[in-house]
């Protein structure tokens, strides 16, 4: 995967680049917002690791210009936890995920993996351990044995796979699964999730964790 690191602190930039190269990615690194903007215009990246505090134009501006061009590049924002936090959370500037400084390398790696997995989603079949998800045929196979999913279960699976590593609230799931004329109760969501869970968790490698009172988290064991 091709990744652009935008970070003006040389120490941090070297560290991030090193971690990403070790994970087998092709990494470009720039120090300023304008350089980042230029790089993003010239080449296509799967992921941008974007610091907000930059010497010329800030990370938000880079992000705004990127989204203005309707580029679908994944963006992982690095922030110091203050006023920036609110803007990342509150205003949807089009960042896909964010990390507050300082952060641990394992957390960084996990976020990068999750975001890159989204990029790979539309391509044919995805294998996680013994579970194979065929996105074209809309069916799953465990150890080669086909298992049928209902329409709702499939929609649920797609939703989880589109948001790996993120907790989804029941309200969100209900909103996503609801058709024009049907209102899904939160109890119904619980039923769908437990059915999907029964069908896929036997494969191992994938787990739908319950976040008590809130929703669910799709967890993928790293192969």
């Amino acid at each position: 995967m091709r990744i652009l690191v935008v970070e003006d602190d040389a120490l941090l930039a070297r560290g991030l680049t090193g971690v990403l190269i070790r994970a087998g990615h092709a990494v470009d690194c720039v120090e300023t917002g304008l350089q980042a903007d230029k790089a993003l215009r010239m080449a296509s990246y799967d992921l941008v690791v974007l610091d907000i505090g930059l010497p010329d134009i800030d990370g938000f501006e880079v992000l705004r210009r990127l989204r203005f061009r309707r580029a679908a590049t994944n963006v992982l924002v690095l922030t110091a936890r203050d006023a920036v936090q609110d803007r990342v959370h509150g205003l949807d500037l089009g960042a896909d995920d964010y990390l507050t400084k300082p952060f641990s390398v394992t957390e960084f790696e996990a976020r990068v993996r999750a975001l890159l997995r989204r990029t790979t989603l539309p391509m044919g079949a995805v294998s996680i351990g013994r579970l194979t998800i065929d996105l074209e045929a809309k069916r799953i196979r465990i150890n080669g044995t086909s298992t049928d999913l209902t329409v709702r279960e499939w929609a649920l699976l797609e939703l989880f796979m589109a948001r790996p590593g993120r907790v989804l609230s029941k309200e969100q799931i209900a909103q996503h699964l609801a058709e024009y004329d049907t209102q899904l109760t939160l109890n119904a969501i619980e039923v769908y999730v437990s059915r999907l869970r029964a069908k896929i968790e036997t494969a191992g490698g994938v787990r739908i964790r319950t976040v008590r009172g809130f929703g669910y988290l799709w967890e993928v064991a790293d192969a």
């Binding site: 090193g18 936890r81 949807d92 641990s104 390398v105 993120r166 907790v167 008590r212 009172g213 988290l217």
Partner: protein
């Protein structure tokens, strides 16, 4: 402070101090002037009327062989000397000075030449009198004296008529000065109420146009001070923002490099040492975050403009992603019981509040434990609470845990003791209350209650749309 300012002074007293002597001088000089005018008027008028009997008598005195006589009817003489108020007497002396006719208790006249009229003050039986003296054609001295009753009465009348208005003006001036000071200072009272109604954060300029022009310079000076304070607040905020970036970025770099290093093949000794450095770096990063959060909560001045209607549900919702991951890493069951509840608040500080409560709960709850975040409205009061089934906080320490750098004795976590101090600061910013409840021997429940929003704008559909929802919508 200069010595002349060290004693508290009253404008009113000072004004009266200037006014009273000035008015006193005015009244006294007016009285003196009026008195002399009155004296002059009275003397001139009554002297002329005193001259008539003197001339009459002089014209009617005859001297022959029988001696000197007054050739005047008794009645005419009485009419001549009659007066309602004053005693009028006369005396005729020979050119040699011997008393010829009339009253004897009158001193001799000064030297008067024939045809001349002389007026002078004298005494008659111990009483002051005014005397008119003339000389007859025959060289006799004629004196007519009268007591001063009607003259004095006239003087007093003129004096009173002249002085009464002056006194009235003087008293009116004093009264006006007394009330005028109060009225003149009324704009200061307006300023006082304006300033009293403000919080320490409110540094908006006062409207100088509502005050009199005399006070405007003071208002301008105050406003200048406000502007300087605002600017220094702004500078402090900018400094904090810069400090945040400057401190955290190198710490992030340091931590990252140490972690990369730890992934390598290392001898156990080197690994142990680097692990220690790594732990210290993580703590330093955490501490930097907390110190800045605390400073920010304290310095969040003039945030009256930044206070917005915040849904506690949304605040909790925002914390879910990060804290669920941390809870999973620590094998703690993090649960939520969330209902919508709107308060007037600062969303950033409220996130800071919840982050620190969660950090604290996760830090001190053992693996396998559970932490539950709740928010909603109880008895009309918005609240947010966090409960865990950790070791709990002993009753005796309830007051202390919110102090800065206080740590429970015997706790082994890596915290610096700032988390709950930040919580306290944020709660105070929002005029809320903070309570620790320790149900039984085990577990802690920290409840933050907020004042209800005055204009009820709770649970609007827009407020319930979480950020996550927006994300999901965008990517769907």
């Amino acid at each position: 402070m200069p010595s002349h300012l060290s004693r508290r002074r009253s404008i009113r007293r000072r004004l009266l101090l200037y006014l009273i002597p000035a008015l006193l001088l005015l009244v006294v000089s007016a009285a003196a002037l009026t008195y002399f005018v009155a004296l002059h008027v009275a003397t001139y008028a009554y002297d002329r009327s005193l001259l008539d009997p003197a001339l009459d008598i002089a014209a009617n005195v005859t001297t022959d062989a029988n001696g000197t006589r007054l050739t005047m009817q008794e009645q005419a003489q009485q009419a001549l000397l009659f007066d309602h108020e004053d005693t009028v007497i006369f005396q005729v002396r020979s050119p040699a000075g011997a008393i010829v006719i009339g009253d004897e208790d009158l001193d001799g006249p000064p030297d008067v030449r024939p045809g001349e009229r002389v007026f002078f003050d004298g005494r008659y039986r111990g009483e002051p009198v005014r005397i008119a003296a003339v000389r007859s054609d025959t060289g006799l001295y004629v004196q007519v004296a009268e007591t001063l009753h009607k003259r004095n009465r006239l003087i007093w009348q003129i004096l009173a008529a002249g002085l009464l208005p002056t006194l009235l003006i003087a008293f009116a001036t004093l009264a006006l000065a007394w009330t005028g000071v109060a009225r003149g200072l009324a704009p200061l009272e307006w300023i006082r109420t304006q300033l009293l109604g403000r919080t320490a954060d409110d540094l908006r300029p006062l409207d100088e146009h509502v005050t009199p022009v005399e006070i405007a310079p003071a208002i301008q000076a105050l406003n200048r001070l406000f502007a300087q304070l605002r600017e220094s607040n702004e500078m402090q905020k900018r400094f904090l923002a810069n400090a945040a970036h400057q401190m955290r970025t190198p710490l992030a770099g340091l931590q990252l490099h140490l972690e990369v290093l730890l992934l390598r093949n290392l001898t156990p000794e080197v690994r142990a040492e680097i692990s220690d450095i790594h732990l210290a770096t993580v703590r330093a990063g955490h501490l930097a975050n907390q110190l800045l959060a605390l400073a920010k909560a304290e310095a969040s001045s003039d945030d009256s403009g930044r206070l917005a209607i915040v849904d506690l549900y949304a605040v909790a919702d925002r914390a879910v992603q990060e804290w669920v991951r941390r809870a999973i890493a620590r094998d703690i069951d993090l649960g939520f019981v969330l209902e919508h509840a709107s308060i007037a608040g600062d969303p950033i500080l409220l996130s800071e509040l919840l982050d620190n409560l969660l950090d604290n709960a996760l830090r001190y709850t053992p693996s396998g434990g559970s932490v539950t975040v709740r928010c909603g409205c109880a008895l009309g009061e918005p609240y947010m609470s966090i409960e865990d089934n950790g070791p709990g906080i002993p009753e005796a320490a309830h007051g202390k845990v919110f102090e800065r750098f206080y740590r429970l004795p015997g706790t082994s976590g890596s915290g610096a003791g700032l988390g709950l101090a930040i919580v306290k600061e944020v709660v105070q910013r929002h005029r809320g209350t903070l309570r620790i409840e320790s149900p039984g021997d085990c577990g802690t429940r920290i409840v933050v209650r907020f004042p209800p929003v005055v204009a009820d704008t709770s649970t609007s559909p827009a407020a319930t749309t979480s950020v996550l929802g927006a994300h999901a919508g965008a990517s769907a």
